[in-house]
Homo-oligomer: 639 residues x 2
């Protein structure tokens, strides 16, 4: 079977005949098993008899399996009687026992160890695990097991109090400083919380979903199935590439295989991925530096990818068409020639869109294709001789900011937007083109607005941390003060995105242009004004409705091409199927813990100085962060 | 005058004849002046006319003063009309003007620039200042001016709302990432807040106290004086080496000198420093690595300093005396010889105390002076031949943990405590001496307890940051995971210290000793037990009654020598005049913002493994920190 399948494990508890049991589980379709490393019935306090002195079956002797089997098929479980409570000596004894089990798991080269959290009182266990991870050289991953919901009946007498196991997990992993080998084993409970509470987990590194057999229902044929709500939950977690672990008693006449079969069935019958998901496959949570098409020339391959977008150029064509019809009354259609300038023509997709739009609108256009990338101009020249041989197209190999246009434009068309709208310096480029616009000229796009939302994602935080560790020559903060283009995936959006910076083009309207020219008469002062008018600052406030950790800000754009024709990558209004832009992620140096009902207040600046533009950002609620990227020390965009 | 005096400045506002005015101020006794760099009356928007184009008196021409005068006598003031409000262009214009003023201050080499905060809306100003500090190469210090109290009448209509200017300052300096050239200019108001609010400022880098002439009262002779409450406030700030700036109108017939004279008078008439203050002069907030007297031998000079303590040995003498009297009835005074062993005798102060105590108690003792530092033993041998020639003193050059004592001890006396009690491994040392104790033997000290309190101190945080930056070969976190011995001074203790770890000696009582011997029969297991029984973990909760920032934990000890005779460096019970120990400061990697009414929960572990002992610590409320010093990676104490 070439199709990807879900990895499914079986909890065996303590098993006297591990070899036979593993063979049994594998033949039932399971990929791994989970076992107690110490017999819970024979548990012996650490001090009385350390592992080396034990006799009998208290723990699994290593010669039962080959090391390759231990390291691929067996996940260990830490004894649940280890509680770090009681007297100083009791605690110390528990610590000794836990160390012994972890060392034993490492000795056997197990791939993972399951550690159960019973409540929020997990500091000493976290300390033990963290210390172990730092000290040892193996690759043991910790699966921190917490239930999806938990009701604490004991502490409140007769009224049951719902507590948040997410808080247990959060405490554990922050104490472990977000160690990347500490993941979640999420126990699915029969009762499910609301989607907001489920969403809390979407930004967490979930390694395995634990399904107790008692959570399954029985269908009419007597086979175990999950409720609809549980099914859709599982589909959410399948997207995060979780494994599944089946635990609990079973008595089906077909044996334990029926659970694995059901999970495999569920996995195979997920809704098929959409175009965006297919395109972005493999890019999930992968950090990329934003393009700098102004400083660096794009490569042909990059153009090729973007030209394939099934949505973008359709929208441009519609926008140009509508604009041409609005601009030229039908009676003048044969006589009036509209001067259209494509600014940043690349390999010609917008020229093509303009020519098609003119045909559809039945209007005449004269098209200038302005492109600063000389290599791309070669392609444009070829297209002019071939595809556009019968059209009025002029290829201009120049930067629009310095080009001396031979006439004024009716319409300028550009696609200079980055994931965060203005972050590839569209405002500065189009400002530079205003010199050759008619006073009533139209820009397509006519305006664009960047958007931000607060995001929780340990995955992205760990990716940035890894980037920071890799680049040892740079200060630690550099990687955290750089925005990344990334298909954010294993994350939880904490609030609806809000608008940030808006730019309209042309920046003047009608007779304003005259004034503008007057203002820029003094070239020195004018340059300064030019820089300043694209500087921005906003403060955004987001209401947060769950306990969470803020790791950064997800940036998007909404762009109005012409009138109500728009393209958007803002989640709420995302143009369906458009894949040309992944979001822009602004990381934070230090994750910020936010409580349910709290606020996140973000300050973000767009700064312009000399030949550079950059963003600075800071959080001022629920607590204050330092300003990120002050003076553009870590990241700037070159003009 | 050799006595230190307080530096006092005068606010001149915008002054057309700066040279004459400075000469005037100096002749009136002032040390510096504070001036507007741009005439507030003639302020010109940045865009219309940049500094280079200005004419007339709009700003001070640099040739008015010699550069040495600019750099020592003049503090600049940023124009208060710069507010970063209004349209994008207004904000950008303000940014330009502010940059211009800062550049002008830097050009003149001014030592400091006063920047007023009007409210909590200071993010853009902070961004500007922070960027300027990072980008420029001069040493301009920012004096961030905030009032001590502020009532906001505008925003709430007729009811006045008291707001906390400390929050303005906190937001500003955290946005500036605690930059060490950002300090406070604290404007003293006529109304004073309660001491808790004043205490908020004691951990802040207060550079100057600003006194408006309207805050002064008029005494019977017509001279300006401060109220008693203001006087005691000033004395608190004098301890932090603040300067004073006089501002506002004055009309006294003796001129402005009367204010400087009064401040100088107040400064000279502070209460004299106590013995502890005299001893610790110059050590304020200076980080020292804790001694490791077990791994490293102390130097003679170190012994010499500690022997001068006016309190410690008196207390030991009293304790030994009382113990001898309790132990030997008067009728046996002539016949019974008490075997006293001084463990860690150093250069003999405890031997001397024991001999004096025996004399006072009229009891006979046989004294063993055990010292592992062979160099110190030389001194002990000399003392035996001279000062102690008539006493029964045996010098033993050995480590108490391996010494084969020729007889069992009645009393063991030691001074092995560090600032945090057990942090110089007194428990492990005295455990090693239990082999040669009688079953009813007494240890002086009989027990000791470490204490912790949460502390706010930007000064200490900056010192640790500086230590981290200096030692580039070590990971960034190392300096933040090391406790420091430090005379904490510019700090605010956020809650009363609470007990942490207690150790009692001997660890057995009476017949327990027999059991203890049995338990340690198996040497291997016994060693493990020995290690584990000194491991500890506690969780401490502190109620916080002001908005603040937690930078670390201040550690102390309380030690019971014998019965109710004790020595302590816990603030509430500090032995008066005892100077042998400064507190131990446990830093935090990231400062934690705490709100009034919130809790700080601390977890701290004492860990023992192999030949090492260390602490790990973490905060779990109001938010969770990573565990500091996991596995002793940054700091251990060697056995």
């Amino acid at each position: 079977m070439s199709k990807k399948r879900v990895s499914c494990g079986l909890d065996l508890g303590f098993d006297g005949d591990l070899k036979a049991s593993i063979e049994g589980a594998c033949s039932e379709g399971y990929d791994f098993v989970c076992v107690d490393l110490v017999d819970p019935k024979q548990r012996t306090p650490f001090l009385k008899c350390s592992a080396g002195h034990r006799t009998g079956d208290a723990s699994e002797p290593d010669f039962m399996l080959r090391s390759q089997e231990w390291s691929t098929l067996v996940v260990g479980k830490m004894s649940q009687w280890i509680s770090f409570s009681g007297s100083d000596l009791d605690k110390a004894t528990d610590e000794g026992s836990a160390h012994e089990e972890l060392n034993f798991a490492a000795y056997l080269s197990l791939p993972a160890m399951l550690v159960h959290l019973q409540n929020e009182d997990c500091a000493s266990l976290a300390k033990l695990v963290y210390t172990h991870l730092l000290r040892s050289h193996h690759n043991l991953t910790m699966w921190v097991c917490v239930p999806l919901t938990h009701t604490d009946g004991e502490c409140n007498g007769n009224t049951e109090k719902s507590v948040s196991p997410w808080r247990w997990w959060n405490k554990f992993r922050v104490l472990c400083n977000y160690h990347n080998r500490v993941g979640v084993a999420l126990q699915i409970t029969a009762d499910l919380p609301d989607q907001a509470e489920i969403a809390q987990w979407l930004g967490e590194p979930i390694k395995v979903v634990v399904l107790h057999t008692s959570v399954f229902l029985c269908n009419r044929k007597g086979y175990p199935v999950l409720s609809r709500a549980h099914q859709s939950l599982m589909v959410q977690f399948f997207k995060l590439n979780c494994q599944v672990l089946i635990t609990g008693n079973y008595s089906h006449h077909d044996g334990v295989r029926v659970y694995q079969q059901y999970i495999a069935h569920l996995y195979e019958n997920q809704p098929p991925p959409d175009q965006y998901e297919i395109f972005s496959k493999g890019y999930e949570d992968y950090l990329q530096s934003p393009l700098q098409p102004l400083m660096d020339n794009l490569e042909s391959a990059t153009y090729e990818v973007f030209e394939k977008d099934p949505v973008k150029y359709v929208k441009y064509r519609e926008a140009i068409c509508e604009c041409l019809i609005d601009r030229v009354p039908e009676r003048d259609a044969d006589t009036t020639v509209t001067v259209v300038m494509v600014l940043g023509a690349g390999r010609g997709p917008l020229v093509r869109a303009a020519l098609q739009a003119a045909q559809n609108a039945k209007r005449k256009i004269k098209c200038y294709a302005v492109e600063k990338n000389a290599s791309a101009s070669v392609t444009l020249q070829l297209l002019k001789r071939t595809e556009w041989a019968n059209d009025d197209v002029t290829i201009v190999s120049s930067d629009m900011r310095v080009w001396n246009a031979p006439e004024l434009a009716d319409i300028i068309i550009s696609e200079l937007l980055g994931s965060f709208g203005d972050n590839e310096l569209s405002p500065e480029c189009l400002d530079g083109a205003e010199r050759f616009l008619k006073t009533d000229a139209i820009s397509i796009p006519s305006s664009y607005t960047s958007y931000l939302s607060p995001a929780s994602s340990q995955k992205l935080f760990n990716e940035v941390t890894a980037a920071s560790a890799l680049d040892r020559d740079k200060p630690k903060e550099t990687a955290f003060e750089t925005p990344y283009v990334v298909r954010i995936h294993n994350y939880n959006e904490l609030a609806t995105a809000k608008p940030v910076f808006t730019f309209k083009h042309p920046s003047f309207s009608g007779k304003d242009k005259e004034e503008n020219v007057i203002n820029t008469e003094n070239l020195n002062e004018g340059t300064k004004l030019h820089q300043l008018r694209n500087a921005r600052h906003v403060e955004l406030s987001f209401d947060i409705s769950s306990d969470t950790v803020l790791h950064g800000l997800a940036g998007y754009f909404y762009c109005s091409l012409y009138k109500d024709i728009c393209i958007s990558i803002v989640p709420e209004s995302h143009s369906p199927g458009m894949f040309s832009w992944f979001p822009l992620f602004f990381p934070l140096l230090n994750p910020i813990q936010v409580n349910n009902g709290g606020k996140v207040i973000v300050n973000i600046w767009r700064c312009c100085l000399g030949q550079k533009v950059w963003y600075e950002w800071a959080i001022t609620e629920p607590c204050i962060s330092p300003i990120h990227n002050p003076g553009g020390r870590s990241y700037t965009i070159g003009l």
